[in-house]
C-alpha cells in the first residue's frame, strides 16, 4: 500500500531543513570535546566530559536528525498528517537551546543547570513524540515503520524519564546512580530509541532506495519484538549491577534482534534491482559492519576486567559506545540524510515543474562522491576513536575527535550545498528514444 504524495501534504522545507542542517553541530561539539579530553577518559565512563560527548552525539546530532526525518516521513511515507507544524517549529527551538545548555552543564558538571536543561529536553521530546505519534496514529495502514515509530517513541520517553530522574537525584541525592543504572539509561536510549528506529525504518527506506521488489522481509516484526523484549530484560538485570556472567548473558540477548535484522537486510540488499550503489547503499553495508563490531566489543566489555587494564576499565566501553552510536547509527544517518533531504528539496522545488520544464532528479541534488567521502571520513574517525580507546592512546583519541568534527563540518557543507539551484543531468538519450519509437 503506498501513501499518496504531493507537495501540499509534505511538511514545508523550511520546517525540516533546520533539523538536518543544525544536527551536525552536535557531532562537531562531540568531536571537539573529545579532542580536548585527557587520559581520565579511560578511567570511567561516567566522567563529565564523556557524558557530555555522548549526549552531544545522541541528543544534538542523532536525535535531531531523526526528528527531521520523522517530521517528513510521517506525512510523506506513512500518510498521516502531523498534529501541528507550529508545534514542530517551537519544539525545534526548545530542543536546540535545551541540548546546548545541557551539554555545557554536563561538561562543567553543574547539576542545577543539568536539571533545568533536562526539563527542557524532556519537554521537547514529549512534544515531538506527541506530534509524530499523532501522524503515525492517523496513518491508514499498519506497516513495520509505523509500528516502529510507536515502539521507539515509547522507549524514548522511558529513556528521557530515567534520565531526568538521574539529573534530579544528582541534585537532591535520592539514590546513587550506579554503573548498572547508568548502563540501563544508556541502553534504553541506544537500543530502545535509536536501534529500534534504525532497524524499523530501514524496512521502508532500504527497499525504496534500492528498488527491492522480489525479496520480502522475513524477520521484520520478529527482530523488533525480540529486541524490545531483550531490552526490557537487559534493563531490569543491568540496573542491579549484576556479575559478569549475567551482564554477558543479558548482552547476548540484546544481540539477537539486531542480528536477525542484519540478516534480513543482507537478504534484501542481495536481491536489489538497483545494482549501482550510491551513498545510502554503501552506508547500509558500513553500518552492518559497525553493528557486528559493536556486538563483539560490547560483549567483551561486559565480561569486565579480564580483557581490560584494571587501571583503565572504561576503554572497551568507550570503543563500544563509539561503534554503536557513531558507527552503526551514525553511518545509517549519514547515508539516509543524502536521500531524505534531497528528496524533500526535489519535492518542493522541482516537482511542481515536472512536465513543464526539464528538472533535476534526486541524484542531481547532491554530489555522491562528496557524500561518500563524508561517510568514509566519519567512519575512519569512529574507528579511530574505538581503536584509540582499546589501545589506551589519548593522542589517538584526540586526533580522532578532530577528524570527527571535520567530518561533521563537511557533512553540514554537503547538506547545505543541496539548496543551491541544480540543473537536470538526465538528457534523453538517442538510443532510448529510438528503442521506444521502434516499439
Amino acid at each position: 500500500m503506498t501513501a499518496r504524495v504531493s507537495p501540499h501534504e509534505s511538511p514545508p522545507l523550511g520546517l525540516i531543513a533546520p533539523f538536518f542542517l543544525v544536527a551536525p553541530a552536535g557531532l562537531a561539539v562531540a568531536g571537539l570535546l573529545l579532542a580536548g579530553s585527557n587520559h581520565q577518559a579511560f578511567l570511567a565512563i561516567n566522567l563529565p566530559r564523556t557524558v557530555a560527548v555522548v549526549h552531544a552525539t545522541v541528543l544534538g546530532w542523532i536525535t535531531l536528525t531523526i526528528m527531521g526525518a520523522l517530521y517528513q516521513m510521517g506525512p510523506v511515507v506513512m500518510g498521516g498528517q502531523l498534529w501541528s507544524l507550529r508545534l514542530a517549529r517551537i519544539q525545534f527551538v526548545l530542543h536546540v537551546l535545551s541540548v546546548a545548555g545541557f551539554i555545557a552543564a554536563l561538561d562543567r558538571w553543574s547539576v542545577g543547570w543539568m536539571s533545568t536543561a533536562g526539563v527542557g529536553i524532556v519537554t521537547s521530546l514529549a512534544l515531538f513524540a506527541a506530534n509524530v505519534g499523532v501522524a503515525a496514529w492517523r496513518a491508514k495502514t499498519w506497516t513495520i515503520p509505523r509500528a516502529t515509530v510507536f515502539i521507539a517513541l515509547g522507549w524514548l520517553l522511558v529513556t528521557a524519564s530515567v534520565g531526568i530522574t538521574y539529573a534530579g537525584t544528582l541534585q537532591h541525592l535520592w539514590f546513587p546512580v550506579t554503573m548498572g543504572r547508568l548502563s540501563m539509561h544508556a541502553h534504553l536510549g541506544l537500543v530502545g530509541w535509536l536501534a529500534i528506529m534504525v532497524m524499523g525504518l530501514s524496512y521502508q527506506l532500504v527497499p525504496m532506495f534500492n528498488v527491492i521488489t522480489k525479496v520480502k522481509p522475513r524477520f521484520g516484526v520478529a527482530s523488533l519484538a525480540v529486541t524490545s523484549a531483550a531490552l526490557a530484560i537487559f534493563a531490569l538485570a543491568i540496573a542491579q549491577d549484576p556479575p559478569a556472567a549475567v551482564r554477558v548473558a543479558a548482552g547476548a540477548g540484546l544481540v539477537i534482534g539486531p542480528a536477525l535484522w542484519a540478516f534480513d537486510l543482507a537478504r534484501l540488499l542481495h536481491g536489489r534491482s538497483k545494482r549501482r550503489m550510491d551513498v545510502q547503499g554503501h552506508a547500509t553495508f558500513v553500518s552492518i559492519g559497525f553493528l557486528a563490531l559493536t556486538a563483539v566489543i560490547g560483549l567483551v566489555a561486559a565480561t569486565g576486567t579480564p580483557w581490560t587494564d584494571d587501571a583503565e576499565p572504561a576503554r572497551w566501553l568507550l570503543a563500544y559506545g563509539a561503534c554503536g552510536l557513531g558507527g552503526w547509527v551514525g553511518t545509517t544517518l549519514i547515508g539516509n540524510s543524502f536521500k531524505i533531504l534531497p528528496f524533500l528539496i526535489w519535492l518542493h522545488r522541482y516537482r511542481p515543474r515536472v512536465g513543464i520544464a526539464p528538472v533535476p532528479v534526486v541524484a542531481d541534488i547532491y554530489n555522491d562522491r562528496f557524500a561518500n567521502a563524508v561517510l568514509a571520513i566519519h567512519s575512519l574517525a569512529v574507528l579511530g576513536i574505538a581503536a584509540s580507546a582499546v589501545a589506551g592512546s589519548i593522542d589517538g583519541l584526540r586526533l580522532a575527535g578532530v577528524v570527527l568534527a571535520v567530518s561533521s563540518v563537511l557533512h553540514c557543507g554537503a547538506l547545505s550545498h543541496m539548496f543551491l539551484p541544480k540543473k537536470s543531468s538526465r538528457a534523453q538519450t538517442a538510443s532510448t528514444r529510438k528503442a521506444v519509437t521502434a516499439s
Binding site: 500500500m1 503506498t2 501513501a3 499518496r4 504524495v5 504531493s6 510523506v76 511515507v77 521502508q204 527497499p207 525504496m208 532506495f209 528498488v211 527491492i212 521488489t213 534491482s273 538497483k274 545494482r275 549501482r276 550503489m277 528528496f343 526535489w346 516537482r351 515536472v354 512536465g355 513543464i356 526539464p358 528538472v359 532528479v361 534526486v362 541524484a363 542531481d364 543531468s425 538526465r426 534523453q428 538519450t429 538510443s431 532510448t432 528514444r433 528503442a435 521506444v436 519509437t437 516499439s439
Partner: protein, 106 residues
C-alpha cells in the same frame, strides 16, 4: 505553443521526459508504461510503479498526466495505475539496466 499531433510515439516521447526522481530514469525506459491508447481528443495511459514501497509511485502518475496535458493541450488525459503484472527490472531497456548497473555483478 504549437499543438503536437496525438500519436503513440509522440505520447511515448512526452513520457520520456518524466523521470523516476530516485532512479533518474524516465518512465518509458524503465518499462513502467504498459499501454498507450489514443483517440481524437483523448489520451489513455496505463502504467505501473517500481515498487509498492515507493511513496513517489502515485505521484509519478500525476506527473505523467501533467506532462501529457502540457504537451497535448486540449486533450483529455487519463493515466491509470496498473498493478498486474507487477513491474520487474527486466522490463527496463538495456540502457536503463546499464544505468542501474544490472548485469555488472550478476
Amino acid at each position: 505553443m504549437i499543438a503536437t499531433a496525438i500519436t503513440t510515439p509522440a505520447i511515448a516521447h512526452a513520457l520520456m521526459h518524466v523521470f523516476d526522481p530516485e532512479l533518474g530514469i524516465d518512465l518509458v525506459s524503465l518499462g513502467l508504461v504498459y499501454a498507450i491508447d489514443h483517440e481524437p481528443g483523448a489520451i489513455n495511459v496505463q502504467m505501473a510503479t517500481t515498487s509498492a514501497m515507493c511513496p513517489m509511485g502515485e505521484a509519478m502518475l500525476d506527473d505523467a498526466a501533467r506532462m501529457l496535458s502540457h504537451r497535448f493541450p486540449g486533450a483529455g488525459v487519463n493515466v491509470d495505475l496498473v498493478t498486474e503484472p507487477a513491474w520487474d527490472i527486466r522490463m527496463a531497456t538495456p540502457e536503463a539496466l546499464a544505468w542501474l548497473g544490472v548485469g555488472r555483478d550478476e
